[in-house]
Symmetry: C2
Subunit: 111 residues, 2 copies
DNA sequence: CAGGAATATTCCTGTAAAGGAATATTTATA
DNA sequence: TATAAATATTCCTTTACAGGAATATTCCTG
């Protein structure tokens, strides 16, 4: 997994931007307005998102329309695949059981 | 989605720790050794992971055994659910198609 | 073509966080 | 009980980054 993507999403405003763009592409000004931040900050955050490959922009005359790129989300999903075993798999419970057992044994098995 | 989790995973060493712990629980010393970092730094990073709820520790006498907590990964997975449409769904192509159409129309539909 | 709108960029400042070194704390062990 | 091992914590320094303000740039419109 790419730490850059995580880093880009670690900033609350940027995370909000992503959630905002989930609906549909948006203009810088519109993003700034909805997030209640100033335009320069919005541009800067969008730059970070863009450099992380999370977002791309399309020029529309005066405006830039930003939209989400699928790739990093797919990668995140692929990465998470390796961790699904943590909550989906039954082996967890077995593991927990064995560890609990280990804790108990020394006291019960005092021969 | 929680920016704190993202923030915790944004640091390369911590991301590596998580990937390391995916295999099985580990000791602080063992983690430090495998990541080739000093013990105090390992402890500090584990603290951050712990406070983000990504990791938990079990006391074993002299040692602390760290293991992954399922919750944040599940939450991440749930969050991603909303974005799967970005690459899985056919609506994307429809959306692209409509936008392409919009671009073309002004020229073709000159009535 | 002048003015204004939309956006990006630069400079400055404050703050958070990472790493290093030293040390405190707990526990096993000789 | 003194010592060593494993870990956490503290203090210090450096660096990265976020926000503010100002400004440059591009493009539309009257």
């Amino acid at each position: 997994m790419n730490a850059t993507v995580m880093s880009a999403l670690a900033e609350p405003n940027r995370l909000q931007m992503v959630e905002l763009l989930r609906g549909h592409p948006l203009t810088v000004g519109e993003i700034a307005r909805q997030l209640q931040i100033r335009q320069p900050q919005a541009s800067k955050h969008l730059r970070v998102l863009s450099e992380a490959g999370i977002v791309e922009s399309k020029v529309d005359a005066n405006r830039r329309i930003y939209s989400l790129c699928p790739a990093p989300f797919r990668e995140l999903d692929d990465w998470l695949e390796n961790y699904r075993v943590l909550w989906e798999d039954r082996l967890n419970r077995l593991d927990d059981y064995l560890q609990t057992l280990e804790k108990k044994l020394p006291a019960e098995q005092q021969d």
